[in-house]
């Protein structure tokens, strides 16, 4: 195929339609549009109410640092939710991977990197198990991963207590291999930003590339949008879903490693409620609960809104209890807005 001619034809074909109208419509059809508006609104409100401490570089760094761990989870959860599935088990995977790291290094005297390798392998195995169960049994992933959430939280607590009589372990900084891990997972950028922000945005960029530019991304949308039709067209729906369950588990493991290195320890209870927060961030970001529609950029904006509200509330001195109220309201508002946008985007004109 002659590339130059192809481009010429495409340009002429595109010229048949008013360009500005097409791009405007394409922009309006983006899932993250609502979240972008909401993020701007939240920023303006806190910039006015909380003032300079919020608007400053320090304030911005605090927001991004707070949003990063949730953001990493949300990006992976967004991919899975676009494919039409939930993963509630990621909260327990954070606790499980973190304690695996601590037990291997502190109880069995491993050095850090092989321990990270085992934590990654274990998380991937849990993710595979979730995906395989969902695909094979046809049960809702909500139920299957709710089961694994409880099972692995309980297992983590039980095994930690059995081996060490504790559910919290510290002293990771005394383990060999810690220094490079600290640079990679818990280092600072420009003094105030944590390196986890870079992980977050890097993974979001990667997820966006995969979703919008690769075959696998096309299959993710198809698997969530109409699994039967996708199967008929030769999309390996089961494999796509299993791979995405492994992705969310891997993201949870990354968060566990980042936090274990940063706090030089782990807690079997770490990551509690993160599964719900990640889902909330993804939904605020415009991804449909029913699958087939959404974006990684939206998940980034959802996590960003979380970070802004969290920091904004601290700075303005409002009682932190109000944070939850805000989240709940925001979630419902986002779902109502998304349903409206989806109907606009998908119905015959």
């Amino acid at each position: 195929m002659n590339g130059v001619t192809a481009l010429g034809v495409a340009a002429r074909a595109a010229g048949a339609v008013p360009d500005r109208m097409t791009s405007a419509r394409r922009l309006l059809a983006r899932p993250e549009l609502g979240a972008a508006a909401a993020a701007m609104l939240v920023w303006i409100v806190f910039a006015l109410v909380a003032g300079p401490p919020f608007r400053s570089l320090e304030g911005t760094a605090a927001v991004l640092n707070a949003a990063a761990p949730l953001g990493i989870l949300a990006v992976a959860v967004a991919l899975l939710m676009i494919a039409g599935e939930f993963d509630l088990s990621i909260g327990s995977i954070i606790g499980c991977a973190g304690m695996t790291l601590m037990l291997l290094t502190r109880h069995y005297d491993w050095s850090l990197w092989p321990a990270i390798g085992v934590a990654v392998a274990l998380s991937l195995a849990i993710g595979f198990g979730n995906g395989y169960l969902v695909v094979r049994t046809g049960l809702p992933s909500f139920i299957v991963t709710l089961g694994t959430l409880f099972a692995f939280r309980g297992l983590t607590i039980a095994v930690s207590r059995q081996l060490t009589r504790r559910t919290q372990l510290g002293g990771l900084d005394e383990v060999s291999g810690f220094a490079p891990a600290q640079t990679l997972f818990a280092g600072d950028l420009f003094g105030q930003f944590r390196v986890s922000v870079l992980w977050w945005l890097g993974l979001a960029a990667l997820a966006t590339w995969v979703l919008l530019r690769t075959r696998f991304g096309n299959w993710i949308f198809a698997a969530g949008g109409a699994p039967e039709a996708a199967r008929k067209m030769g999309v390996p729906v089961a494999r796509v879903k299993i791979a995405l369950f492994m992705t969310t588990a891997l993201a949870a493991c990354l968060v566990a490693v980042i936090q274990a290195v940063r706090f030089t320890g782990a807690d079997a209870l770490r990551g509690e409620q993160q599964e719900f927060r990640a889902i909330i961030a993804v939904v605020i970001g415009g991804t449909l609960l029913t699958g087939g529609y959404g974006s990684a950029v939206g998940a980034v904006l959802g996590a960003l809104i979380f970070g802004m509200v969290q920091q904004g509330i601290v700075i303005t001195g409002v009682d932190a209890d109000w944070f939850q109220v805000f989240l709940g309201v925001m979630l419902v508002a986002a779902v109502i807005f998304n349903n409206f946008v989806r109907r606009r985007a998908s119905e015959a004109r």
Binding site: R26, T214, N218, F221, G225, E228, G234, V235
Partner: protein, 265 residues
């Protein structure tokens, strides 16, 4: 004359004791529209499934280009150029037109981690293929859900032809459509015929079949009750043959005193 692309000879299909199809013979030459008419339960679905390679006939022969063959699967049928467009169209409403069109066979450019869907190529092909059926797209990136029912049929037909179909089997493509949309679908069928594609058009509506059909095969209770060329039959005869004219007449008599001439007249 060359052999038709697809031909079935005296095919029958039994499911246990139930005879779903008996001694059906029909041919699909290139560039012709064969209308397969029948009421619910006439055996249309069974015949489609045999043509599409889902079921194998109990007895009878299946010929492609004059050669007797046995289809192993729908995929096998597809690789011989026989594509079936089912009523659900195998499409994802929230996904864009070009993404639906190439789903499962996305053409890629680039190597290694930079391997990506060739979007420019996709959008251009979709535009071209649809304009050959007479549909001018506003934007290939708009979701399929924003298309009308008729336009969705066009996308499915264009997709089948683009991926090498010589015979397209359309399962009730006008069933769920209004008059205007159904008319549009008939135009797409005529365009596909102009391009030399053989079309099997399944319908229970003689008003839809008559304007485009080159040949009409009427199925009733699993048997061929009529096989006419375009010039051999008028619309009224077709309508009467199809549902069983005597039954309609009886119904009209039944309803007459109630409805003052009633809807069945």
């Amino acid at each position: 004359m060359t052999a038709p692309i697809l031909r079935v000879e005296r095919v029958s299909k039994r499911f246990g004791n139930v005879v779903a199809l008996r001694d059906v013979t029909m041919s699909v030459p290139a560039g012709q529209v064969i209308c397969l008419l029948g009421d619910n339960g006439a055996g249309k679905s069974t015949l489609i499934q045999i043509l599409a390679g889902v079921h194998r006939p109990t007895t009878g022969r299946y010929l492609v280009d004059g050669e007797p063959i046995e289809l192993a699967s729908p995929r096998d049928a597809l690789s011989r150029g026989i594509a079936t467009v089912y009523q659900d169209l195998a499409m994802i409403p929230l996904l864009s037109i070009w993404r639906n069109f190439f789903l499962g066979t996305e053409p890629c450019v680039g190597a290694g981690p930079f391997r990506r869907i060739d979007r420019v190529h996709c959008e251009r092909v979709v535009r071209e293929e649809l304009s050959r059926l007479g549909v001018e797209l506003r934007d290939p990136a708009q979701p399929v859900g924003t298309l009308s029912g008729g336009e969705r049929q066009a996308v499915a037909i264009a997709r089948a032809i683009h991926f090498g179909a010589r015979v397209v089997i359309l399962d009730e493509p006008t069933a769920a459509l209004g008059v205007k949309q159904a008319g549009a679908v008939l135009r797409y069928i005529a365009k596909a015929r102009e391009r030399g594609v053989g079309v099997v058009f399944i319908t229970h509506n003689p008003h839809h079949a008559h304007p485009v059909g080159d040949r009409f095969v009427i199925l009733r209770r699993g048997e061929v009750r009529g096989d006419f060329g375009r010039r051999d039959i008028r619309l009224e005869e077709l309508a009467a043959m199809m549902a069983g004219g005597e039954e309609l007449e009886r119904l009209a008599h039944e309803l007459d005193p109630v409805g003052n001439g009633g809807p069945a007249r």
